[in-house]
């Protein structure tokens, strides 16, 4: 009996320290949620405005000559992917959902990973998804657009996580390049110096805005997923401790009863 209570006490202590850990991680995630969702909404505004502009530009017949537009005759298969995942684990299915979606996509010519977990899996220097700045996105977009125009690859896609609500996030894939032809008719707008030049200047900004927005949205999803995961892990740990306490008390009581029985039996004889 003595050994049993000792083992139970050790287990309770270990589950208790796990509970402390999940509580701390949950609190850290909660404190980051507000800032992360604000950053996400800001970058979403910016990307939305760029998207509307890209839609207008890609509708212009002159812009069909741009290297960024889809060429019907040369639809290559060399795919380059940007993958956005978290910096840490313990966020429920957040990272796993992104990696699972990756396996359903066609094989990529090269993968650009953002977020330490993605970097560990797909190689490359560790890039933090939390600290990824707008200027990092701009540099990356400049390089990607230049290489796309030179023909180093044919398609550019991004795998990231869409933030639906605090409780629901989903991994999704979106194709960034080449641009699809828009269907807006906006004849009364003046472009300086001309549509094609403005489009070619706008594409790196557009891609950079979309990358930054995706990274912000993924980070907001990560902290929300972590908080939910830590919340349920904390609840499970509490239930487990309660169960173990019951066993421990029962074992302790059993040991005392047995000792009394032995003493009584000893004094009787």
């Amino acid at each position: 009996m003595g050994a049993d209570t000792k083992a139970l006490r050790a287990r309770i202590r270990s589950v208790d320290s796990t509970l402390h850990l999940t509580k701390a991680m949950g609190l850290v995630a909660s404190s980051k949620i507000r800032r992360a969702t604000e950053a996400m909404l800001h970058s979403r505004d910016y990307a939305g405005a760029l998207e509307r502009l890209a839609e207008v530009l890609s509708s212009c017949p002159e812009c069909q000559r741009s290297p960024y537009m889809r060429d019907e005759h040369k639809d290559g298969e060399k795919l380059r992917l940007i993958v956005v995942a978290g910096d840490r684990g313990l966020a429920g299915g957040y990272n796993a959902n992104v990696f699972r979606l990756m396996t359903t996509l066609p094989a990529a010519e090269s993968v650009i990973a953002i977020g330490k977990r993605a970097c560990e899996r797909y190689g490359g220097d560790p890039v933090s998804s939390e600290k990824f700045s707008a200027s990092d996105a701009y540099e990356l977009a400049q390089r990607l657009c230049r290489e796309f125009a030179e023909g180093a690859y044919d398609r550019l896609g991004i795998v990231s996580t869409r933030y639906r609500s605090m409780l629901s996030q989903e991994a999704f894939y979106r194709e960034l390049l080449p641009l699809k032809q828009g269907s807006q008719k906006n004849a009364s707008v003046l472009f300086e110096p001309d549509e094609l030049t403005v489009l070619n200047a706008a594409v790196p900004e557009y891609i950079s805005g979309l990358i930054a927005a995706s990274v912000r949205e993924s980070f907001a999803s990560e902290v929300a997923a972590r908080r939910a995961a830590m919340d349920s892990a904390g609840k499970n740990a509490e239930a487990m401790i309660e169960d173990l306490r019951l066993h421990y008390n029962r074992a302790r009581q059993g040991a005392i009863t047995q000792e009394i029985t032995e003493i009584v039996a000893g004094s009787d004889s």
């Binding site: 604000e38 950053a39 800001h42 970058s43 505004d45 910016y46 990307a47 405005a49 760029l50 502009l53 207008v56 530009l57 707008a134 200027s135 996105a137 701009y138 009364s188 707008v189 003046l190 472009f191 300086e192 110096p193 030049t197 403005v198 200047a201 706008a202 900004e205 950079s208 805005g209 930054a212 927005a213």
Partner: protein
């Protein structure tokens, strides 16, 4: 003075969202200023110091690291990859 709605947006948020009298920037073909009633217009801008005259007549200067300027009938939007107020 006639005013229009000016929005200066960056990936880190909107830095200006309100009424303005004029906005001066450096476009690809030279300096330009936008006043109320400008025709719908789109251009890309070079890194420059932007001058905004707000509705109360005060002047604000800010550095933009390139971007796109869109003028539509009711609003002017400057999408800058980075923008910092200097005054």
């Amino acid at each position: 003075m006639n005013t229009y709605h000016l929005l200066i947006s960056t990936p880190d948020g909107n830095v200006y969202d309100g009424e303005a009298v004029s906005l001066s920037v450096r476009g690809v073909e030279g300096d330009l200023a936008v006043l109320a009633g400008h025709i719908p217009f789109v251009t890309s801008i070079q890194p420059c110091i932007c001058r905004v005259v707000t509705a109360d007549g005060s002047e604000r200067l800010g550095r933009a690291e390139g971007g796109l300027l869109t003028v539509s009938a009711d609003r002017v939007t400057l999408l800058a990859s980075s923008f910092r107020w200097e005054s």
